[in-house]
Every structure is written in C-alpha cells, then in structure tokens.
Amino acid sequence: MAEGAGLLPEGGHLALCGFAISRNAVSFVHELIRAGRAHLHLTQVVGGLETDLLVAAGLVDRLTYGGGSLDRFGPLASVNRAAVAGQLELFEYSALALSLRLHAGALGLPYLPTRSMLGSDLLDSLMASGEVRLSTDPFSDSPCLLLSPLRPDLAVAHVDRADRAGNCSIEGPVWSIPETVRAARAVLVVCEQIVEMGELDPSRVTIPGEYVTAVAVSPRGAHPTAVFGRYDYDRKHLELYEKAATSGEEASREYLERWVLGVADEQAYLEAAAG
C-alpha cells in the first residue's frame, strides 16, 4: 500500500473507483491520510465514503465528480461542507459525462462529444474550467458538448482477486472502474485475495495486468463499504461516520483521530472497527 501512495506526487491527480457505499478503497485512503499527502486533485464518477474521508482530512484541493452520497446513510457531508466553505474547488458533472472524459483519456482521443448536461447549470463552472465546450455536431448541426480527456496520475481500485502481474477480477457490476483505471497513468489495485499466476480465468479478468502498476493485498480493505459477494457494508460504522461528518468539522476530525490517524495500520483499524 505504501508503494501505491508513492505513485502519487504531492498535489497529484488521484482517481478513486468506489461507488457510494460499495467497493471503496478505504484501506488505501486511510494510508494516504496517515501519510498526509495534501493538495490533491481527486476524481470520482459517483462519490462515496473514500472521497468524503479524504476531504474530511483536508487533503483535497479540487474535486471532480458526478455527485455522490452514502445512499440512505446520508450525503457526502464533508464534501458538501468544504465546497460551501470555499475550501474545496468542486466540479460537478453528470455521471455519464465524467465517465466519457475518462473513456476519452483511456483511448487517447482528443475529446468525446455528448448530449448529456445540455441546458443545465452544471455547464457554467465546467465551461469556465475550459474542460467542456459547447459546440455543434458537424453532421447534424445540432448542439453538442465536447468533453476533454481526463488522465489522472493514479487510479486506485479495490478488486476481488489479483495475481502478482496485476491481472484482476471484479465480481458484480463495475460501474466506471474500467474507464477510470484505463485512463490513469499509473494504477494500484488493492485486492481481497492474491492468487497464483494463471489461476484467474481469462474470461473473467476485469483489468488486464498491462494496465496495472502495483498490487496490494488488503482483505476487508473496503470496510465499512460493501464488496459484492464477499461482505456487506457495516451499517453501524457507516452510521457512526455519517453522524460525525454531518455534525461538523470538529466531529469529523475526532472520527479521523479515533479510526485513522490514531491506529497503527489497517489490521488495527479492522480489529477495532469490524471486530
């Protein structure tokens, strides 16, 4: 995990692959918070706990996302608070439009067009950022948006099984994980389980090792979020987190002290939090 954090320079652009309360790379994010890697540009297609944790820790200067929540557990309270307080530069896309920016980055395309977001106020800050342009489809002459490609410095995905070459499998839906890892300049996969070379069925490899820079093993590393087919989200812990996050900066800080900064490593966190 430490070598993964090393792939990300101070002020670098990190992309995370969790989805609300599922498959968040929590163990990696904890490591990053302990390392105090600050001034990050963070991208996540549908924001989840991992993003809210990094923002609560004050490590994110700029967030590019497609909205997000902790489902019924509540909003991304730290993200919302930091954005309103002007501590976080926030760029909100539709989930598809942000996936398309990553897809353009993955394919090395100069841009991708879309008709999502037309007529919405999302465009104001996105067009001002220079990353989205209103244009005209040269074939039909109707309005369309041009989305610039996105190339994060590092993408981190929490996967089920991986071999040492980085080939890995993900069970269940994959939302925007494929585009996010293929767009990034370096990829860390954090796996539940490491397997021998050749053990993975090639038909079920979600991310070929050619894309992957480093592999870390972290059983239950997505806790308190869920990993499909392996473990459920931890309802009590998510409620505890959300209570702290919605209470304000001080309660969030106490949460981080208690569960992240104040524990030696992930083993200690899991023993304390998950029993």
Partner: protein, 268 residues
C-alpha cells in the same frame, strides 16, 4: 416522505383500509410503468415504485441501475442503488458506461424515474444546491446519473413529496433540464429524450404538457382546489377536471409493507 400520517388520519401501523402518503405516492408512481418499459431507476422512492410495478401490472419491465445492473429483482429492502441488496436477482452486470451510455444515451431507455429536491413548471430538476436563509447555499447529492436520465430517457417521471417549497418558479440550480429552459425547448438545446412527462407526488399527478403543467389526477380523498392552492406553480385544469387516483389495493399495500419497504424507509 417521512412521518406523514395516512390520508385517513391513521398512523403508519394502520390497519388495512388506510395508508401513508408515501405508500400512495409509491402506488401512483408504479402506475406510470408499463410492462414493456426499459427503466433506469434513481435513488429513493422511485426504487419502491418501480419494483411495485414489476410485482403487479408490469412483470415484464426491465429495471436498470446506473452502476451497471440489468434486470434487477431485489428481494429485500436496500439502502439505495449502491447497496448490493438492490442488485439481487439481476440478469446481467455491466458498467455505468453501458447503462447510462449504450442503453440511455443510445436511446434504448423508455422511462426514467427520479426523485428531486426542487422542480420547476417544465420539469427541470435541482438536486445540487438550494439557498439558505442566511444568504449562503446548502449542497446536496448532485446529479449522479440523474442529468443523463432526464436528458435521454424516452420520458421521465419525477416522484417527490408535495411540499410547496419543492415547486419553484425559478430553480436555484438546474441539475437536469426539463421540457424547456428559459425560452428554449429541449430539442433546441440538443437534448434527445422526451424529457419529464409527469410529476407524481403524494397528493397528485401533474402532467407536463406543451402548454405547461396540468393537474391530471388527484389521489383519492384529495380536493383538486386545495392541491392547486398548495402548488406554487400555476396548474392548468384538464377539461372535465382531474381524474381521481384509486386507493391502493390490498395487494399493493401488502407488497410494500411485507417485501418492498417493510421498514418504511421510503414510504412512511
């Protein structure tokens, strides 16, 4: 959605014959779903409405979730669309680019079902931010796939509680464009789908036509004039007056209470 008492004044533990506003809203929402619809379902009450339709009159409906889930058929209540419980019984797992891209942007989704913080008379939706009394703003969950749904689905049904503050003459923020934004209609803006067609609330069904919103139906027990009075956007009346949504059936209530929302997360 939370804490409403039943239309008959009964509590949430009401005996058969009474129901909560949330239950009525889920039932009325389910009536919007057809057996041959391909639906993208948003977070919250739309989940219950879509599943209720699938369990009653629309067994053939295909329910998609933005995380990449096809044909979902959950058997226990879920905390949202990112809860693996919501993906149980799915026919296929894919990606967000597949569901929101190939299916939705590609024109294959006939119906979107979304919640909203705030709507205007043309069905534009705000799920991003609202002003606070102190002159600041309060941020919410934002678009997710909501903008994509409203932009591209054949039609979109908005399901939300009938609170006056949720109907705005001017939205603070347009997260998803409706049938018109300013004086431009959605085709001029370049949007492909039909746009929002109905707002289903716990009191009424408002149809979004070319002339503006129409009070198409009021739910059983509701007075159309009182509903119109409590709706801060002007509503047109259909000739002959709004139809009346029939009361929920025993079967619908039993499905909601025993299977789809037994803990009342969405409907009580």
């Amino acid at each position: 959605m939370n804490g409403h008492t039943g239309l008959t004044g009964a509590s949430s533990e009401a005996a058969a014959g009474s129901w909560t506003r949330g239950e009525m809203m889920a039932v009325a929402g389910s009536h919007q779903v057809r057996d041959d619809d391909v639906v993208v379902v948003g977070l919250g009450l739309p989940q219950v409405a879509a599943l209720l339709a699938r369990h009653t009159h629309a067994a053939g409906v295909s329910l998609l979730l933005e995380a990449g889930i096809f044909g979902t058929a959950p058997r226990e209540p879920a905390m949202g669309v990112a809860d693996p419980r919501m993906w149980a019984g799915a026919t296929a797992f894919g990606s967000l680019l597949e569901v929101l891209g190939a299916m939705l942007h590609g024109g294959r989704v006939t119906l979107g079902m979304l919640g909203a913080l705030e709507v205007d008379r043309w069905g534009s939706i705000n799920t991003t931010q609202i002003p606070t009394a102190g002159g600041g703003i309060r941020r919410f969950n934002g678009s997710g796939g909501g903008n994509d749904v409203s932009s591209h689905a054949g039609r979109t049904v908005i399901i939300m509680a009938h609170e006056p503050r949720k109907f705005a003459s001017q939205l603070d923020f347009v997260t998803s464009a409706g049938r018109k934004v300013g004086d431009k209609d959605r085709a001029e803006l370049g949007l492909s789908g039909g746009g929002p067609s109905e707002i289903v609330t716990d009191r009424a069904v408002i149809s979004l036509g070319a002339e503006g919103p129409v009070l198409a139906a009021v739910h059983t027990g509701e007075d159309p004039e009182l509903v119109a009075r409590d709706t801060p956007i002007p509503l047109l009346m259909p000739s002959g007056g709004p139809v009346v949504t029939p009361p929920p059936t025993e079967r619908e209530l039993s499905l909601i209470r025993s299977e789809l929302d037994p803990l009342g997360w969405y409907t009580r």
